[in-house]
Amino acid sequence: MAQPKASVITDKMRAEIGVESEPVTFEVDNTACRMFARAVGYTDPIYFDEQYAKSKGYRGIPAPVGFLGHVVYNPNEPQRLGGYVRTDTPFKRLLNGGTDIEYFESVCAGDVLTATSKLIDLSEREGRLGPMLVTVTESTYRNQDGKLVARARGTGIQY
């Protein structure tokens, strides 16, 4: 019988499950919403024309689904990596395995979101790509009024 392979999941990694990160600020502005909408080929004027978006009942240009603003960059602070990129594993490559994103309120240009993330699951699998570490991370986004606006769960595959 083959010996089971040594796990790459350490006790230290397991101890991180459920621990909330420090909050990160995301700004949502007209330019970034338009840029994202252009990049994915959207032509709906709600993403480009603020007055039109308001006439359709939005507070401003809505952020396309999947875009929750950009992290405010500060060269004097350490760069924050995405929640699911682990550098303490033997794996050097990363793929997006899946996404579960849920909206509770619209997100519009002008909003300032605060997000915290936590690791919710770690597992190992043997797949087409060889041994893989599968991480599930959950990020929760609140707006400037403290309202929960979105929750996103991402499955990262490191291999």
Partner: protein, 129 residues
């Protein structure tokens, strides 16, 4: 939007190009060279660049926005698995149909397929009706 179970959503069909992938990398802030550097990507097991999963997901969201409008943008849920890579030159079709409609919510089975009918992304989209 007809919410009868089985009702088909109007598909979104996109010709994927490297230029579109590059623009997404800039807008989404994801600079992984697997998406943008053909020379690097050629040496990986993918043999060439592949689109960001989130770019393909955007086509599903476009289909849902066209069908459900604000209800989608302010209270939708999209839960998908990425099954296979999408490459420049592929024709990506986002398709879906209503599988359940009850209690003020509709659940749609959604998929993106390429020109060879291979499933790239599959999952569920849920929205208030």
């Amino acid at each position: 939007m007809t919410l009868n179970v089985g009702a088909e959503l109007t598909p979104v069909v996109v010709e994927l190009t490297q230029d579109k992938i590059d623009r997404y990398a800039l807008a989404g802030g994801d600079g992984n060279p697997l998406h943008t550097d053909p020379e690097f990507a050629a040496k990986t097991q993918f043999g060439g660049t592949i689109a960001h999963g989130m770019l393909i997901l955007a086509y599903l969201s476009e289909m849902m926005t066209a069908a459900f409008g604000r209800a989608w943008l302010s209270g939708g849920r999209l839960k998908v698995r990425f099954k296979a890579p999408a490459r420049p030159g592929d024709t990506v079709s986002a398709v879906g149909h209503v599988v359940r409609a009850e209690g003020g919510r509709a659940v749609c089975a959604v998929e993106c397929r390429n020109q060879r009918d291979e499933v790239l992304v599959s999952g569920e989209a849920e929205v208030a009706t």
